[in-house]
């Protein structure tokens, strides 16, 4: 076990002068890999033919993975905060890579359940751990710009699909030609397991936690304390889920993701169905539809970074007013005037998807504002159950209403989408109200004693300083004093 002690949080404390700008690439290395989860459509049909299964049965592989993402993030969030980012990233890499290996075995042996177990269950745990692993570390390194920090990392999740999609396509053709089958997918999974494991190890060996009392140069903690919606106190994960603020934010995320994911899943057929000629044929060329999907990927990724960064200036609550209120207007626009022009339809949809991505990237900073940094990773993990629930609810609502029209796929028209889209407007309205109801967490939920994490305990052994004796309220001031007196602690 001691061979793996380099993974311990205590052994990942940044030395003096370590640059915080090394942490976002470490986080990106993880998120770029696990973002592959959104590139499964590349080999979906090949798996359907290989197993002789339905599209729905193969679609369950992705569904199990997303459910496991939420479940593992919720169950292991406290462990993640305790053991630190390096051990979590390492575990995530092992789960993610071995998930591919088990799934490859399932394809090779013709056992679909092994693919559920590998990619869905084991890989899904890797997804959950990988997703939350860098969040609290980034927030601690960037107390002055938490939205920017989490935006950079979570942008990688959107970018991961953009990388995996063309890469997988090329590898599949290389392994199986233009009409590749299950054997090529099996080889693809083996290749991805190796590539992703190696790439994630870069994140594992680069990530470090800041030393106790560290603060960025020129950071003035009083600017945080002066903001009404940003706390300088700390709430534990166990207490956070007892607060109305947690459940209001859960509702906000659930509504934002439900609306976005429902549209994202049906974006391409929607474009084709919205624009049909009198004889019922779609006027949208295949190349245009492919371009639309590419543009949505760009909107998803840039929205994560741009809107989350903007939230540092706009405030988290106002940013969600924009996502949900603006989203309602955009959805209403798609339902009412979306069919008038392809350009307008595309513009509205790209903005919707950018808000969807932005909602994911901004939520960790919102949690930090409300609950402090103490167990923000664990609280984030619990909140991600909203994503799992929305991943089921969003497509279900859209597909159930479209199915109820009794039409075959390829014969739907713009009017058929009006009801489900207006339902999404209603769902966004619920999230909008929930966001408005969010207020600062009451004092009764704040940690009473000093908040000490593993880094501070280690620091005590080194220096004899008793961090337990430091009142929380003065932590930032002490950090400033250390910076002023100890030149080695000054960051580059």
């Amino acid at each position: 076990m001691s061979a793996l002690s380099f993974l311990d949080r205590e052994h990942t404390i940044a030395p003096p002068g370590y640059s915080r700008w090394l942490i976002p690439p470490a986080a990106l290395a993880i998120h770029l890999c696990i973002g592959q989860a959104y590139a499964t459509s590349v080999y979906k049909i090949a798996l359907v033919e290989h197993f002789g299964a339905s599209l729905t049965s193969v679609g369950y592989i992705f569904s199990v993975a997303i459910v496991m993402l939420g479940v593992s993030a919720a169950l292991f969030g406290t462990w993640v905060d305790r053991v630190g980012p390096r051990k979590t990233m390492f575990t995530a890499a092992c789960c993610w890579a071995s998930g591919f290996l088990v799934a490859a075995l399932g394809i090779q042996s013709g056992q679909l359940w092994l693919v559920y177990l590998g990619y869905g269950f084991i890989g899904g745990i890797g997804l959950g751990l990988g997703y939350i692993s860098p969040v609290s570390t980034l927030i601690k390194w960037f107390p002055d710009r938490p939205g920017l920090a989490t935006g950079m990392a979570i942008m990688g999740f959107g970018g991961g699909a953009m990388v995996a999609s063309p890469l997988s396509q090329k590898l599949l053709v290389a392994y199986g030609g233009d009409t590749f089958g299950g054997d090529a997918v099996m080889k693809l999974f083996l290749t991805l397991a190796v590539i992703y494991f190696v790439f994630m190890m870069f994140g594992v060996f680069t990530v470090k936690v800041p030393p106790p009392g560290w603060a960025p140069a020129g950071f003035d903690p009083s600017t945080i304390k002066s903001k009404k919606m940003v706390t300088s106190n700390h709430v534990s994960a166990a207490n956070a889920i007892k607060t109305p603020q947690f459940w209001l934010l859960w509702t906000v995320l659930f509504c934002n993701v439900t609306a976005g994911i429902g549209i994202l899943e049906n974006a391409k057929p929607m474009l084709e169905d919205f624009f049909r000629d009198d004889s019922g044929n779609s006027t949208v060329a295949a190349a245009t539809a492919a371009g639309f999907v590419g543009l949505l990927s760009l909107g998803n990724m840039t929205g994560r970074f741009a809107w989350s960064t903007t939230s540092d200036y706009l405030g988290r609550k106002m940013t969600y007013v924009m996502y949900l209120g603006g989203g309602m207007l955009l959805f209403f626009g798609v339902a009412t005037i979306g069919e008038t022009s392809t350009g307008l339809f595309v513009l509205l949809m790209v903005l919707i998807i950018s808000y969807y991505g932005g909602g994911f990237a901004t939520v960790p900073a919102y949690l930090r504002d409300l609950f402090g940094t103490f167990q923000v990773g664990a609280i984030h993990g619990r909140l991600l159950t909203a994503w799992s629930a929305a991943g089921i609810a969003g497509p279900l609502i859209i597909n159930a209403i479209l199915d109820a029209q009794g039409k075959e796929p390829g014969t739907l028209i713009a009017g058929d989408y009006r009801s489900p889209i207006l339902i999404m407007v209603g769902i966004l309205a619920v999230g909008f109200v929930a966001n408005l109801l969010i207020t600062p967490v009451s004092d009764g939920f704040h940690e009473k004693g000093a908040v000490v994490d593993a880094v501070d305990r280690h620091h005590k052994q080194d220096t004899g300083v008793e961090p337990e004796d430091i009142p929380i309220i003065e932590e930032e001031l002490i950090a400033q004093r250390r910076l002023e007196t100890d030149p080695d602690l000054r960051p580059n």
Partner: protein, 40 residues
């Protein structure tokens, strides 16, 4: 001492961002190439 740290980190930061930036750039290039078909 601090200057040495700074020089070392600049190189490491550049290398680290390049390592994640190159695949990200590859994905971006392909997405933009696909999106460009919309305006062709």
């Amino acid at each position: 001492m601090n200057a040495e740290h700074h020089v070392d980190h600049t190189a490491r930061i550049t290398a680290s961002w390049a390592l994640v930036g190159i695949p990200l750039g590859y994905g971006l290039f392909n997405a933009i190439k696909a999106a460009a078909q919309l305006f062709a």
